[in-house]
C-alpha cells in the first residue's frame, strides 16, 4: 500500500518537473507549439480548413494548427466562453457576424490591426487589407481598426428554376418585389393545377429582414447602427421595417410565399426548391454549390439573380453574412504572430479563391475574383458570380455596413417571430412591430446593464 502511494507521488512529481520546461519551451519542429482553432463546420468545408492547417504546418513545422469542429456558430461560441472562463482559451475562433459586439465587449480578443501594427507581412504572409472587398472591410472595421480576419462571407441571392418558368414563358428574372408579384401571378395557374406548391420561398429568418432594411438604407439600431456608440434602442417601428413585414404579410396572404411554418428553415426551403416544388428561392449564396449540384443531377436549369428589392424605395446595397476569425488576447508574441500568419495564409488570394470554389462563399479579395476570372471559373459557373456582383455594387453606408449590438441573436429571433405572427395571424403590422420593438429594447437594456460600467 505504502509503496503504491510513493509510486503515485513520484509519478506526480515527475509530471510536474517535466511539465514546467515544456511550458517554457520554444516552438521547434521536434515539439511544435499547438494553435487550437474552433470552426463551425462539419462537412467538406471542415476538410478544406483541415487541409490548409496541414499545409501551414508543412511551411512552419514549429507550429501545429489543430482545427476543432462545431455543428453551429452558437455552440462554438459557448465552448469558447467556457474555455475562457476556465483559463484555457484556444488561439483562434470563428465568430459569426452578429457576435461582433460581444467579441468587443468581452475583451477576450486582440484586434488584428493591433497584432499586425505597421508590418506589411507576418512571418512571410502578406497583409494587404486594401485587397479586401469594401463591404467586407467596412463591416469588420470598428473604430478604424481591423477587428478580425475575414473568411466566410455570403449574401442572399435569388435562384430560379428556368424549367418551371418556361412553362409560363417567363424569361427575365424578377429584380424587384413588384417583379416577383407579377411573376407569381403568372405562375398561379401552375399552383392551381398542382404542378408546383407555391411561387417563392426563403427561410423566415431575421437575416433577410436585415438585408431588406439595408437595401432601403435604414438602420436597425440607433447610434449610427451601433458603430458610433453603444446602441440603446432597436428601431423596429421604422417605415422601412413596417414596409418589409407588410410585404411578407401581403405575399403570404396572396398565396405567393410558400411558408413551411418552421422558422429558420434553411434545409426545408432548399429541399422544396431542389424537389422542383417551387420555381423561386431566395437563400444564402453559400447554398450555390449544393443547389447547382442537385440541378446537374436532375436536369434542372437553374439561374441566379440579385436579391429582390422594393422598386418604390430603391436599392442601396446588401449586408454581408458569415463569419470571421478572431485571435485571443494574451497568447504571447510568438503564438500570436503564428496565429495571424495562419489566418493571412488561410485567406490569401489563392486560398480565398479555392474556398469560394469549394463552398460557394464569396471570395473576400478582389485579387481572388480576378484570379477566378482568369481561370475561366465564372464563365463556366456564372451563378457563382451573382453574390460577388451584389456585394461589389453595394454602396457603403451606415445601413449597409450592418448593425453591431449585443443582443443581435435574440433580436433576430424576435423579428422572425413578428414576421411569422404577421403572416399566420394577420393583423396590423405596425402594432406587431411595436410590440416586438418593446421586447427587443428590454433585452438590449438588460444587456447594457451587464456590460456598461456605471
Amino acid at each position: 500500500m505504502r509503496s503504491k502511494f510513493l509510486f503515485v507521488c513520484g509519478l506526480l512529481l515527475t509530471t510536474m518537473v517535466l511539465a514546467v520546461p515544456v511550458a517554457a519551451q520554444d516552438c521547434t519542429a521536434e515539439s511544435p507549439c499547438v494553435l487550437d482553432a474552433l470552426i463551425g463546420f462539419t462537412d467538406h468545408r471542415l476538410e478544406w480548413a483541415k487541409d490548409r492547417a496541414v499545409e501551414f504546418g508543412e511551411m512552419f513545422p514549429q507550429f501545429e494548427v489543430v482545427i476543432h469542429e462545431f455543428s453551429d456558430y452558437e455552440p462554438l461560441l459557448d465552448s469558447y466562453i467556457l474555455a475562457q472562463e476556465q483559463g484555457d482559451p484556444p488561439a483562434i475562433m470563428q465568430l459569426f457576424e452578429v457576435g461582433t459586439q460581444f467579441a468587443i465587449d468581452s475583451g477576450y480578443f486582440k484586434p488584428a490591426s493591433e497584432i499586425i501594427g505597421d508590418r506589411t507581412e507576418v512571418m512571410g504572409q502578406a497583409v494587404d487589407f486594401d485587397d479586401i472587398i469594401p463591404v467586407v472591410s467596412s463591416y469588420y472595421t470598428i473604430g478604424g481598426q481591423w477587428s478580425s480576419v475575414a473568411w466566410n462571407t455570403s449574401t442572399p441571392i435569388l435562384y430560379a428554376n428556368q424549367n418551371i418558368l418556361d412553362m409560363v414563358g417567363i424569361e427575365e428574372l424578377p429584380e424587384t418585389w413588384q417583379g416577383v408579384e407579377e411573376a407569381c401571378a403568372q405562375l398561379q395557374p401552375l399552383v392551381d393545377d398542382g404542378t408546383i406548391t407555391g411561387c417563392i420561398v426563403w427561410p423566415n429568418h431575421g437575416w433577410f429582414y436585415e438585408q431588406w432594411l439595408a437595401q432601403q438604407n435604414t438602420e436597425l439600431v440607433n447610434n449610427g447602427n451601433g458603430r458610433d456608440a453603444r446602441p440603446t434602442q432597436v428601431l423596429l417601428s421604422s417605415e422601412a421595417s413596417i414596409n418589409i413585414v407588410q410585404w411578407h404579410q401581403d405575399m403570404y396572404q396572396a398565396g405567393y410565399y410558400a411558408y413551411s411554418g418552421v422558422q429558420r428553415d434553411w434545409p426545408g426551403t432548399v429541399q422544396a426548391f431542389n424537389a422542383q416544388q417551387l420555381p423561386f428561392i431566395m437563400t444564402s449564396s453559400a447554398s450555390a454549390g449544393g443547389i447547382m449540384m442537385n440541378a446537374a443531377d436532375n436536369d434542372m436549369e437553374v439561374r441566379t439573380g440579385m436579391m429582390v428589392y422594393d422598386a418604390d424605395v430603391g436599392w442601396t446595397g446588401n449586408i454581408l453574412g458569415g463569419a470571421t476569425m478572431w485571435i485571443t488576447d494574451g497568447l504571447g508574441e510568438e503564438i500570436e504572430d503564428a496565429a495571424m500568419a495562419f489566418l493571412l495564409f488561410f485567406s490569401n488570394t489563392e486560398n480565398s479563391a479555392s474556398w469560394h470554389q469549394t463552398s460557394g462563399y464569396v471570395p473576400v479579395r478582389n485579387s481572388s475574383v480576378a484570379l477566378l476570372e482568369e481561370q475561366g471559373w465564372y464563365e463556366a459557373n456564372p451563378n457563382f458570380l451573382t453574390a460577388s456582383i451584389q456585394l461589389g455594387d453595394s454602396q457603403v453606408t451606415i445601413a449597409t455596413q450592418g448593425a453591431i449590438f449585443g443582443t443581435f441573436v435574440e433580436t433576430r429571433n424576435i423579428i422572425t417571430q413578428a414576421i411569422e405572427d404577421a403572416m399566420l395571424l394577420g393583423g396590423d403590422v405596425a402594432a406587431i412591430l411595436a410590440e416586438a420593438e418593446e421586447e427587443a429594447n428590454v433585452l438590449l437594456e438588460e444587456y447594457n446593464l451587464l456590460y456598461v460600467d456605471e
Binding site: 406548391t197 422558422q263 426545408g268 446593464l449
Partner: protein
C-alpha cells in the same frame, strides 16, 4: 423601506408555526399512555404543558428559519418599496409565496423529526417498528455514515445547483458577461405578467396530457395484441420497440421530412391519392397534434416493452376462471388485466409525463422549432431557447424553476391520485 417589515413577517411565522406545533404536540400527548422518567423535570411533572411549550418553541424557531431560507439570501427584497415609495403587488405576492413555502418546508421537516424523536424516547406514544430501522445507542451514527455518500452526492449535484439556480433566477446574468446584477423577482414578474408565457404553460400541459393518453392507450392496445406466443413474435416485438431507440432529435428530423409542407413525403402521398394537402406544420391548430403524433410514436416503444412484460405476468388461471364464469373479453380485460397492470401504468404515466415535459424539446426543436406562432413552444423548449441560445441565464433559471414547480406539482398529484388505485399484488 419595506411594505411589510421583515420582523413582522418573522413574528407571524413564529406565531403560526409555534401555535400549530403546540397544538399538534398537545394532541399527541393526550393519546399517551406510558410515561418514562427523564432528566427534564418539567416534562415529567406536567408533561402535557411541557410538551406544548417545547412544541411551540421548536415550531416557532423552525418556521422562522424556514421563512429565512429563501427570503434571507434575498434580503427580503420582494417586500421592498421602490424609489417612489410604491410596492409592486406581483413582487409582494412572490415574496409571500416564498415565505409560506420556505416556512412550511422547514417546519414540516423539523416536526416530523421531532415527533419521531419524542416517540423514540417514549415521551409520546410508542415508536412503530419498521423493518430495516437501525437500533442501538450508535444507531444515528451508523445511519449517518451509510447515508453520507448519497447525501453528499445529492447535495453537490442536486441540492446545491438547485439553490444556485434559485439565486441565479434573481439576477440579470448572461454567459460570458463580466458581471451580474441583482434584480430580485424581476425575472419571475416578467414571466407571470406575460400572456405569452401563460400560453406556453397551457401548451405544455396540452401536449403532455395528449402524449401520455395516446402513448399509453395505444401501447396497451398493441401490447395486448402481440404479447402472446406466436410465430416470429420475438422479431415482431423487437421491431415494435425500435422507435424508442431513436433519440427525440432524430425522430424530429424524420417527421420533419415526412410532414414538411412543401417538400414532405406524406403530403405528396395524400395529394396524389386524395387531391388535398394538410398543413401539418403551418397551422397553429394542427401543428401541436403533429408534435403529439411524433412524440407518441417515439415513446410508444418504451411503453409497449413494459406492457408486454406486464401482460406476460398476468396469471392465466385468473383469466381462465373468469372466462369459465362467463366474463367476456372486455370484462376480463377491464376487471382483471387492467387492474393487475396498474403498477406498470402508474410507472409509465410518471415516465411519459417526464418525457413530455422535458425530453420532447429535442423533437420540437427539429420538427417545428416551437412554431408556428409559438403553438408548440413548451416550457422546456423556452428554457433551452432563452438559456442556451440567447445565453440569458437569469431568465432561463426563473423559467426552469417554474417548470420544476409545475412538474413536481403534477407528480405529487399523480402519487396522491394513484393511492389505493395501484395494487402491487401484496
Amino acid at each position: 423601506m419595506f411594505v411589510v417589515s421583515p420582523l413582522i413577517l418573522l413574528a407571524l411565522a413564529a406565531l403560526v408555526g409555534g401555535g400549530g406545533s403546540a397544538w399538534l404536540f398537545r394532541r399527541a400527548a393526550g393519546a399517551e399512555t406510558t410515561i418514562r422518567l427523564l432528566p427534564w423535570s418539567f416534562l415529567n411533572e406536567r408533561r402535557e404543558d411541557g410538551l406544548t411549550a417545547f412544541g411551540a418553541a421548536l415550531g416557532g424557531s423552525a418556521a422562522i428559519v424556514g421563512a429565512l431560507i429563501f427570503l434571507g439570501p434575498l434580503n427580503f427584497c420582494p417586500f421592498a418599496l421602490d424609489d417612489d415609495g410604491q410596492a409592486d403587488s406581483l413582487n409582494v405576492l412572490m415574496g409571500m409565496i416564498l415565505f409560506v413555502v420556505g416556512a412550511l418546508l422547514v417546519h414540516t421537516l423539523v416536526m416530523r423529526l421531532a415527533l419521531r424523536w419524542l416517540r423514540k424516547e417514549r415521551l409520546l406514544g410508542a415508536l412503530e417498528t419498521r423493518p430495516g430501522l437501525f437500533r442501538g445507542p450508535s444507531a444515528w451514527l451508523i445511519a449517518t455514515v451509510f447515508l453520507a455518500p448519497t447525501i453528499g452526492i445529492l447535495g453537490i449535484f442536486l441540492y446545491y445547483p438547485m439553490f444556485d439556480t434559485f439565486l441565479l433566477s434573481t439576477k440579470l446574468a448572461r454567459l460570458g458577461a463580466p458581471r451580474t446584477r441583482f434584480v430580485c423577482m424581476r425575472n419571475f414578474n416578467q414571466l407571470l405578467s406575460d400572456a405569452d408565457y401563460g400560453r406556453t404553460v397551457l401548451v405544455s400541459f396540452f401536449l403532455a396530457v395528449l402524449i401520455v393518453l395516446f402513448s399509453l392507450s395505444l401501447s396497451l392496445l398493441i401490447a395486448q395484441m402481440v404479447y402472446r406466443p406466436m410465430k416470429g413474435g420475438r422479431i415482431y416485438r423487437t421491431l415494435l420497440v425500435w422507435p424508442y431507440a431513436l433519440s427525440p432529435v432524430i425522430a424530429g428530423i424524420v417527421f420533419q421530412l415526412l410532414f414538411h409542407n412543401t417538400a414532405g413525403v406524406l403530403n405528396h402521398m395524400i395529394d396524389t391519392l386524395f387531391g388535398f394537402k394538410i398543413d401539418w406544420l403551418l397551422r397553429p391548430d394542427i401543428a401541436p397534434w403533429t408534435v403529439v403524433l411524433a412524440s407518441t410514436w417515439n415513446i410508444m416503444g418504451f411503453c409497449i416493452l413494459f406492457y408486454i412484460a406486464g401482460l406476460q405476468n398476468v396469471p392465466q388461471d385468473l383469466l381462465e376462471a373468469a372466462a369459465i364464469d362467463g366474463a367476456n373479453a372486455f370484462q376480463r380485460f377491464f376487471r382483471i388485466t387492467f387492474p393487475l397492470l396498474s403498477p406498470i401504468t402508474f410507472f409509465l404515466v410518471v415516465t411519459t409525463t417526464t418525457y413530455a415535459f422535458f425530453d420532447s424539446y429535442g423533437l420540437i426543436d427539429f420538427l417545428t422549432a416551437g412554431g408556428p406562432v409559438e403553438a408548440t413552444t413548451t416550457m422546456m423548449y423556452e428554457v433551452f431557447e432563452v438559456g442556451v441560445e440567447a445565453r440569458n441565464l437569469g431568465s432561463a433559471a426563473a423559467r426552469s424553476l417554474l417548470l420544476f414547480t409545475v412538474v413536481i406539482g403534477v407528480t405529487i398529484m399523480q402519487f396522491r391520485f394513484s393511492q389505493g388505485r395501484v395494487t402491487y399484488g401484496n
